[in-house]
């Protein structure tokens, strides 16, 4: 079977070198953010100022690739103008699409820049075709990124019932919670993905060697404790070990990455139009490695999904850059739930 539709590979870039790396290694689209709270990877030292964005767009467009801009946090009444200004800047820079979560901001973008293509961010929490179609009817969104909560059959059902292109996460850090509906970080640190573009932010992290082991804390809250032989991971609060009824374990999720490579033929047959790679906070080396593998895999699938087999070398490459050096199919695979 040869697929009638091309599946776009959407790769992350937290810097101009990462953007160029993604383009050079075969990304169809690169998604980026400005250096402020308007996007969900608002980390120190990351993201683009207007000059580097202009250069990035030029670099990608010269090679006939697209640049997508994430403006996927929720503007508040008192900072509304920062978000609308970011939409204006995106239009002016010739960004190919903006990725939005807030309906108010979509209304602004649709009215002010009718030619600017709108994508619904995963932070918009649309998990059904009724929700996706709502954003389509109201604001003309042309693509939606689905939260990492649906099984493969559910993804297929959404696609069958909407005119909107569907993009799914293929690889990278795994949100266990419905994106856009998680206030765990806000509860622990006061900073949330929704409002501040940050989850478990670095400035609240403490590493402390104690007689009991290496302890990782988030705003003083003990997220995990590691013995001598254990590799201490970053204290993302849903991936710590906690005590429930006298049992200590990864009560929410292990430190692991999503990897759907083996499911690629099924995702292709389901009609997925784009595969997203997570990791704007990761290095250009990560972007290069992951983009290369997924480019090869997607090319193989698009030339004949029936003959697709996962190359062991691909998995080995991806596991090297995975959180906890392990991977999962996440919610695509029902028993994970």
């Amino acid at each position: 079977m040869t697929l009638s539709q091309r599946i776009e590979l959407v790769c992350p870039a937290g810097s101009l070198p990462a953007l160029k790396t993604a383009v050079d290694n075969g990304a169809d689209c690169v998604y980026v953010g400005f250096k402020d709270a308007t996007n969900a990877r608002n980390f120190t030292g990351l993201n683009f100022d207007p000059a580097s964005m202009r250069e990035g767009v030029r670099y990608a467009h010269d090679r006939r690739r697209k640049v997508l801009l994430a403006l996927n946090t929720y503007p508040q009444a008192n900072n509304w103008k920062d978000w609308t200004a970011a939409v204006d800047r995106a239009a002016e820079l010739g960004i190919d699409a903006v990725i939005l979560a807030d309906p108010g901001l979509m209304a602004y973008a649709a009215k002010t820049h009718p030619d600017l293509r709108l994508h619904l961010s995963v932070q918009g929490s649309a998990t059904s075709y009724e929700a996706v179609n709502f954003y389509h009817e109201r604001f003309g969104i042309q693509r939606a990124v689905l939260p990492r909560v649906l099984s493969l059959a559910q993804v297929e059902h959404v696609i069958a019932n909407t005119p909107v292109e569907i993009e799914v996460f293929g690889f990278g850090g795994l949100c266990v919670m419905v994106e856009g509906r998680c206030a765990l970080s806000a509860y622990a640190t006061g900073e949330s993905p929704n409002c501040n573009g940050a989850c478990s932010p670095g400035k609240h992290v403490r590493w402390e060697q104690t007689p009991k082991g290496m302890e990782t804390r988030l705003n003083g809250i003990l997220i995990d404790r590691f013995g001598d032989g254990e590799r201490a991971g970053y204290p993302t609060l849903c991936k710590g070990r906690f005590d429930v009824d006298g049992e200590t374990y990864y009560a929410i999720e292990e430190p692991t990455s999503l990897n759907t490579l083996e499911m690629l033929p099924e995702l292709a047959r389901a009609g997925v139009r784009a595969i997203k790679i997570e990791g704007r906070q990761r290095s250009p080396a990560y972007v290069a490695q992951v983009t290369r593998v997924w480019r090869a895999a997607l090319d193989r699938v698009m030339s004949g999904a029936d003959r697709f087999t996962v190359q062991p070398a691909w998995m080995a490459e991806l596991d090297k850059v995975s959180e906890g050096r392990s991977h999962t199919l996440g919610a695509y695979y029902r028993p994970w739930k």
Binding site: E130, A131, E137, L150, R181, N194, V244, K337
Partner: protein, 301 residues
Amino acid sequence: MNSTRLALGPLLYYWPRQATLDFYAEVADSPADIVYLGETVCSRRHELRLDDWLDVAAALDAAGKEVVLSTQSLIESESDLKALRRVVAQDRFRVEANDMSAVRLLAEARRTDWIAGPTLNVFNPVTLEMLRESGACRWIAPHEMSGAALADVLAGLGEPLETEVLAWGRLPLAHSARCFTARHFNLQKDTCEFRCLGLADGITLRTRDGEPFLTLNGVQTQSARVHNLLADLPRVTRSAQVLRVSPQGANTLQVLELFRRVVAGTDSAAAAFEASADCMVDSPCNGFWHGRPGLEHCSLQ
């Protein structure tokens, strides 16, 4: 504060059928003006089906309560949508929309009496106006929104819109496709054996140094601490006309009574807060209202 109304939020836990029916029989005589009913957390829970909820609704309606049918926050399957359509199709009671799928269905049905729930992520007046134009007649601010941010949203509205704030209860912080209660019992969600049934206040998750941190409630994760705005009521009621109390395993009606006494001017907010200590399943927090980490407890200056 006199005109402030009290709402009992939807039951977030899975209680046995009779316990649930007994609870709502008592609610009929409680100070709650508004009662939200229905399953919002997990589609597998079925001790009460929609028809049962409609019976409860009719009884509460007869007792003079405004009844609202709440809908599920996470919609995953066609059967979830089917359940949602049935709630929207009945027109005797108002509906709380907790997902944009519900907003679409309610707007399509041209209903103008629905309530925009706390998971819709309304953070600015432009989005709120859009929901009002789609038929919303009341909204519940996101739990993570501060009092100052709420005042800013309301100041940006053309016309006032009835506003509700969660004023008591463990905070619903996240939803997942995964069931953490089933995971705790080493079960998968599809074969969960309904192990959350009868966990009246969920299961407490502690840090490895023994501090209560979160609460596992099936696919929902809540705070361990109890969000308690009793002491903040004089400020809260400047923005909110409706105060939501979230049902808990015990003492929910006593909590409603504490709120009633403050709203009626019988007790001071400070005295009611002090008296509430006996009604809390864990220590209090109110950080979100003060623009701080949600688990903090800020005293008034």
